[in-house]
Amino acid sequence: MSIQEILFWVLTVIALCSAISVVAAKNPVYSVLSLIVTFFAIAGHYVLLNAQFLAVVHIIVYAGAIMVLFLFVIMLMNLNAEIEPQKRSLVKFAGAISGGLLLVVLVAALKQSASTAVLQGHSDIGLIQNLGRSLFSDFVVPFEVSSILFLSAMIGAIVIGKKQ
């Protein structure tokens, strides 16, 4: 087993276990912390896939910005396991069953069209040089549109969050 496969399996186990604990944890703070672990495992997968720029952006944006926002909101609301709203166990059971059924359906559908392609070698399309050139030549209009989206999201968040 090569070092890449060992890393793949380790990161996969970490990602899946912490993703399950996001859903299962009673305390919302534990959910946020395990989601951060999931994001770091996914960033490791990006490095394995030669997408170094995306790995760094993923850590900065998700673990650095989004999850800090979640943690701040949870601390601001002082949420804990006692006041955590719980669904009835029948509804929870039905949710788990439907999620599992979705997994079965997707696996069955994708198993038929199983592609045997193998990812190998290492490419340098994930480096910031190539991505930047592509971003500012082919994707310059979506880039500008996303800056307007950010501006409107910022204004929207301020307007919504303001005390009346």
Binding site: A19, I42, A51, H58, L69, L110, V118
Partner: protein
């Protein structure tokens, strides 16, 4: 690495996210499960970008991250506003919007 492994991993992460949305009532945790689903799709896009040696998929992932950040900022502002009015983050509170 066969690309299949990444497909199964992304499918598993996506289904965990769907299960979380269906099982939990806390609006913030439902939001986090949506992030989980977005990340499963991102991982699959990066895997196929390596398979086809195409940089466009990685830029799509970049734009998905941008949109997710904007979505989270507005969504959390809405959750904070409902919390200020109702002192709960229970998603069933939003049923009152019907009346």
């Amino acid at each position: 690495m066969p690309v299949q492994y990444y497909i199964w991993l992304a499918v598993a992460l996506f289904c965990i996210g769907v299960t979380g949305v269906l099982m939990r009532r806390n609006a913030i945790i439902i939001f986090m499960c949506i992030e989980l689903m977005l990340n499963a799709v991102n991982l699959l896009l990066v895997a196929f970008s390596k398979l086809h040696h195409d940089a466009a998929a990685q830029l799509f992932v970049f734009f998905i991250m941008v949109v997710a950040a904007a979505e989270v900022s507005v969504g959390l502002a809405i959750i904070v506003m409902t919390y200020r009015h109702t002192h709960a983050v229970d998603i069933n509170i939003l049923n009152r919007l019907k009346h």
